[in-house]
């Protein structure tokens, strides 16, 4: 229950509002019960006044309503009824404006807390969890938990207070009749609980079958050539139809329960009314009750049914909110490891840029095999190092360790001779400009995306960085220039433009260390050459780690490391490596031939 207590902490901030809202709701229900009372009074009082029958004319009804001894009785009751209903309605408005609004505010707080946590969690967490799952927890689950604070709470208070008032009133009139009238209501509640639970469980099954149908369609449509080649259209049709049929059947089972739902509610409510007519009728005949009481009871029962039915629904909602909360709580209590620790040396306030790997081995969390094995390398400050190797050889893993996106499993990484775990994380990352392989850009303006690299960048600085990354001219061609929005709601940059924007984002930091992970792969060799020529000036004086598949990009590097299966297998300058006639020289020769082929 510690978990639930933690959840209830969120109520605290809005305690006043929630108490007020609960009072409003209670008061609203209090006034609501006066409506049947005035209905009853009118009927009872009218039956006690004996006016002789008058001719059916319009004049005489005006007479009765406005100008007779009875007109005051009629008007008083009608006006009081309207008064009660106005008060009750206004209070209901006030309730929703307090309780439901508060639940949205609590949701706001909860979302902020979760996002805050997401910002702090290390990459280890993100590689452990499926990103879709994290997403669901941060979005859908929060919405479900919100129902606990909002509708679930409101309905509970509503049911309790309304039942309290109405049953009290009913008992005052007739305890016996009350018992009879309430008889079907527990069934109503239980039934609503059962049905909403069933719908929930079964909807999941149906959702799965729905995905199966979509999966079948996907498989058929994406293999359309094969299907046509083997003339298997009819067979595929049959397979689709089978799933479609299974979906129909499952859906119909849910439909059966759903088609029971409303009619059963209707039946139980109607039963209450019939019981009232029957039992109250007998009591009226016996002279214990009046006709007005029958009317009163029918309205009471009508007022009770929805809150009673919602009770079952609310219990179900509550269970779901709790399940969602548990999932969220898991994220919130996840521990944050990579942050600065005790052995961080806060004295360090400057980085020169010498990078050294000492017997570094690394295993991704949960993985069986090592992604890096005993890697040793040293890049002096200001040097330009290149890392080459086939896909999957561990290049990207290697560079991700430098800004501590992950911590090494064995061995150590030194910068300026200091273990990077003792350098303040903020400083370490500040000193690095990384251009990742997938060039992730946000759905924001281009300017904002470049400025992302630093704080309070001026427009000049942004444009300068864009110029250095050779993307400024492209950006200026857009109508809104640096204000152009990217992503779903904006435009899509070409691969090359994206990469250069990401380079600009790294350059604007003016970092000591710059890391380029295959950052110009999307442009052709000639364009790359031109960009590099400019870029080299910028990179001068910075330690550069560069991953590339193109020899032309890396042949001028101070040192080249050839990685295979997570280990450095060759190292040296371009010339040295060519002389070795090893893997590097094979790669070089292949690229020469490819180039020749392209030129034929």
């Amino acid at each position: 229950m510690g978990s639930l207590q933690k959840l209830n902490q969120y109520f605290k901030k809005y305690k006043g509002t929630i108490i007020l809202g609960s009072l409003f709701l209670t008061a609203s229900n209090f006034f609501l019960i006066w409506i049947p009372v005035y209905l009853r009074r009118t009927v009872d009082e009218v039956s006690n006044i004996n006016v002789e029958e008058s001719p059916d004319s319009f004049d005489s009804i005006i007479e009765v309503l406005f100008n007779s001894s009875a007109s005051w009785v009629l008007a008083k009751n009608a006006l009081l009824l309207v008064g009660a209903v106005l008060l009750s309605g206004f209070l209901l408005f006030a309730t929703r404006q307090t309780l439901i609004v508060a639940s949205r505010k609590i949701e706001f707080d909860l979302r902020n807390d979760i996002f805050d946590k997401l910002l702090k969690l290390p990459q280890r967490f993100y590689s452990n969890y499926d990103s879709g799952e994290v997403y669901v927890r941060a979005t859908e689950d929060v919405s479900k938990v919100r129902e606990y604070f909002g509708p679930a709470y409101m309905y509970t208070i509503n049911t309790l207070t309304r039942m309290g008032f109405i049953i009290t009133m009913m008992i005052i009139v007739s305890p016996e009749l009350t018992m009879w009238a309430l008889l079907p209501l527990p069934f109503l509640s239980a039934f609503a609980y059962w049905v909403s639970g069933y719908i929930n469980d079964y909807s999941r099954i149906i959702q799965e079958q729905y995905s199966t149908i979509a999966g079948r369609a996907k498989e058929s449509f994406s293999s359309i050539r094969l299907i046509k080649a083997y003339n298997r259209e009819a067979y595929e049709m049959q397979r689709f139809e089978d799933e479609s049929e299974s979906y129909r059947k499952k859906k119909l089972r849910l439909d059966l329960v759903e088609s029971l739902f409303h009619p059963t509610l209707n039946l139980l409510i109607g039963l209450s009314v019939v019981i009232v007519v029957w039992k109250a009728g007998q009591l009226v005949i016996e002279g214990q009750l009046t006709v007005g009481n029958i009317l009163e009871f029918i309205v009471y029962v009508a007022y009770l049914t929805w809150p009673v039915a919602s009770l079952g629904y609310t219990v179900n909602r509550f269970q779901q909110s709790m399940a969602s909360w548990k999932r969220i709580d898991q994220v919130l209590t996840e521990d944050v490891k990579i942050e600065d620790q005790a052995h961080t040396d806060q004295q360090i306030d400057h980085i020169n840029g010498t990078i050294e790997f000492n017997d570094v081995s690394f295993k991704y969390p949960g993985a069986e095999e090592y992604a890096l094995n005993d890697v040793n390398l040293k890049v002096e400050a200001g040097q330009n190092a290149a890392i080459v190797g086939r896909t999957g050889s561990g290049k990207t893993t290697l560079i991700e360790l430098v800004p501590r996106l992950f911590d090494v499993t064995e061995g150590e990484i030194l910068i300026d001779g200091q273990n990077i775990e003792s350098i303040p994380l903020q400083l370490l990352r500040e000193s690095i400009g990384l251009v990742p392989q997938d060039t992730f850009l946000f759905s924001d303006t281009i300017g904002e995306n470049i400025a992302f690299g630093t704080t309070n960048a001026t427009q000049e600085e942004i444009e300068e960085a864009a110029e250095k990354a050779q993307v400024r001219d492209n950006i200026l061609e857009f109508d809104k220039k640096f204000e152009t929005i990217l992503g779903e709601r904006g435009i899509t940059l070409s691969g090359g433009q994206k990469q250069r924007t990401a380079i600009a984002r790294a350059l604007i930091r003016d970092p000591k260390i710059i890391i380029l992970d295959d950052s110009l792969s999307a442009v052709d060799t000639k364009t790359e050459e031109a960009i590099l020529q400019h870029l080299r000036k910028e990179l001068k004086g910075r330690t550069t780690l560069m991953i590339s598949h193109r020899i032309s990009t890396i042949k001028d590097a101070d040192i080249i490391y050839y990685l295979e299966d997570g280990t450095v297998v060759e190292q040296g300058t371009h010339e040295e490596l060519l002389e070795k006639e090893g893997r590097y020289s094979v790669m070089y020769n292949k690229q020469l031939i490819e180039q020749e082929l392209a030129e034929i």
């Binding site: 996002f115 996907k218 059966l256 392209a598």
Partner: protein, 594 residues
């Protein structure tokens, strides 16, 4: 063949077209309407019965009569219950049936369309047409139509009973309706706008979260946690405020409906009370009216909801019918020639082709494959090799020239007869989820289990299949990810062999086969080509050195032809360069780190 009605009136009413799918169920729809009618009557007659109970029996102290009327009430109640259950289920049943037919029709149509249609439309969109667009009709078909009619019946009966008891009091009671209509109208308009805003805010919030989960590494690398936290707060606040606005409208609307209903009650009790004093209205009537006033509101609210359902359903059905109306660009000839079993002579004569008008993919390609011989195509990616396959199977029609099989133009044959002469082994997407057996036979009942097993023995794949749990019944996951590349290829080979055609088309896998299965694959490959005209798109040159003819494609043209020996001898030849390129790769010593 498909029974596509060649209706030229594409623009005819969507509802009428939808009706075509409901038509098989039309008698059930009528039954549903009849049930609804009865249910509406039984639901609305009960206040009238309570009126009789009060006026006739309770007032006259007639216990016996009261008991009868109570039994009648219970009868009406249970009757309504049964009718409602039957009717709801019935409408759901034919609704699901209609959706089922519609879904299958869309799938069938899409599957029958020309391959270029699949190039132009992303798979995701096609899936949407077969799934969620159909689902959007669900509300309309399973609840909508019949319920709209039901709501109208209810309103009609309530009015009928009210007016039959007292027309004056009825007019007084329904005098509040204009206020209700007006309030509902204003509310719907306001809520619509503010819901659009809410939807916007939700998607903004969600995509921000999604994006930041994916790009969290970047945020952390650039020390942007603080700033992104602030940004999220703003978006989160906008999201909260959008909701708070709709809360306001609902907070006004629901109490208002309650107030209007109570206002009607107050009017009934006031005016009716006056009439009762004059002895013209009985207490039973008052009692019935109070109930009717409350019952009246529900169907009116219901009707305004249904209207929205109808609109969104129509939008979906338009998209669905657009697909169903798509013209198939590759069709059978009007008077197809018969070809029967072919010898397997293939001839391309001056073939020109482009996928889109701008870029010519094949330029003046001519070649001839003799029956039983192997012809191999090599070339860099994008040279036009795979296009040859696409044209031969008539996935696309050529722009100029002709393609002949045994001397007959492929456009003169039916598609199914043409294609039945080929066995195709594709590099990707070749396996489905399902058992290995199903993947080999593709559900063809003419291929026996024994045949499959014999064939797989012949090419040496039997051993590995038997090692799998359940053997031939082993369930493959999507695209066969659960077995190795080489094993997948072997299964495709078995499939091609059991279909036993005279022409084999083989698009060799790009990725390298694991060394364990490589030998088996190579052997199987040779078996497969025996006695068949084979068109091989080769990526690994080592496999086609024995081909009768090698055609080197480069930028859409055939640049070199000859046997391996002839081509390798050309000093500056393309083939030779390609060969060197691969040779280099194979020279690389594979270092296995332990």
């Amino acid at each position: 063949m498909s029974n596509s009605t060649t209706d030229k009136a594409v623009d005819s009413d969507l509802l009428r077209r939808l009706y075509q799918f409901i038509r098989p169920y039309r008698w059930y729809v009528l039954l549903g309407i009849a049930l609804t009618l009865s249910a509406a009557f039984m639901g609305t007659v009960r206040p009238k019965l309570t009126q009789i109970a009060v006026d006739e029996y309770i007032r006259n102290k007639d216990f016996q009569g009261l008991l009868w009327i109570v039994l009648l009430l219970i009868g009406a109640l249970v009757g309504e219950f049964l009718l409602l259950v039957a009717n709801t289920y019935l409408t759901r049943w034919f609704g699901q049936g209609t959706l089922f037919n519609l879904r299958n029709a869309v799938f069938k149509k899409i599957q029958s369309l020309h391959v270029q249609f699949f190039d132009k439309n992303p798979i995701g969109r096609l899936i949407t047409r077969t799934t969620s667009d159909i689902e959007a009709l669900s509300d309309l078909l399973s609840d909508g139509v019949v319920n709209i009619i039901g709501d109208m019946f209810r309103i009609f009966f309530i009015l009928y009973f009210m007016f039959s008891m007292s027309w004056e009091l009825s007019l007084v009671a329904i005098s509040v309706l204009p206020i209700l209509f007006y309030a509902t109208f204003v509310f719907k308009a306001k809520v619509r706008v503010s819901f659009l805003n809410v939807r916007d805010q939700i998607s903004r919030l969600n995509s921000f979260v999604q994006e930041h989960i994916n790009g969290m590494g970047i945020v952390q690398l650039f020390n942007k946690e603080e700033r992104e936290r602030e940004k999220f707060k703003d978006i989160n606040a906008a999201h909260r405020d959008a909701y708070i606005e709709t809360i306001f409208y609902f907070a006004i609307f629901w109490p208002l409906v309650e107030i209007i209903a109570s206002l009607a009650m107050a009017l009934v009790i006031w005016y009716g009370g006056g009439r009762a004093l004059m002895g013209q209205v009985t207490f039973g009537i008052l009692l019935a009216f109070i109930q009717y006033v409350r019952d009246f509101f529900r169907p009116i609210q219901g009707l305004s909801e249904k209207f929205n359902t109808l609109q969104s359903a129509l939008a979906s059905s338009e998209r669905i019918f657009n697909v169903l109306d798509t013209e198939n660009e590759i069709t059978d000839p009007a008077e197809p020639e018969k070809i029967g079993e072919v010898k397997g002579e293939i001839e391309f004569e001056n073939v020109w082709f482009s996928y889109n008008k701008e870029e010519t993919v094949l330029r003046d390609v001519s070649f001839k494959a003799e029956p039983g011989k192997t012809i191999a195509f090599v070339g860099a990616t994008g040279a036009g090799k795979s296009t040859i396959i696409n044209l031969l199977l008539r996935y696309y029609d050529i722009d100029e020239g002709s393609i002949k099989i045994d001397g007959k133009d492929i456009r003169d044959l039916t598609l199914s007869e043409l294609r039945s002469n080929f066995a195709l082994v594709l590099q990707d997407n070749a396996l489905f989820s399902g058992s290995i057996m199903e993947n080999i036979t593709l559900g063809n009942p003419n291929i026996s289990k024994e045949e499959v097993i014999a064939t797989s023995r012949e090419i040496g794949a039997d051993a590995f299949i038997n090692k799998l749990p359940n053997g031939y019944n082993y369930e493959l996951s999507e695209r066969g990810q659960s077995i190795s590349m080489g094993q997948r290829q072997l299964i495709c080979f078995i499939r091609a062999m059991v279909y036993d055609p005279n022409i084999l088309i083989l698009d060799e896998a790009t990725s390298s086969v694991d060394s364990e299965t490589e030998e088996t694959v190579n052997k199987a490959f040779k078996k497969l080509m025996e006695g068949r005209t084979s068109i091989v798109i080769a990526h690994r040159l080592s496999t086609i050195q024995g081909a009768d003819k090698i055609l080197v494609m480069h930028k859409g043209e055939i640049r070199e032809r000859g046997t391996h020996q002839q081509l390798i001898g050309k000093e500056e030849g393309i083939y030779r360069k390609l060969y060197e390129l691969q040779y280099k790769d194979e020279l690389l010593p594979t270092v296995k780190s332990e």
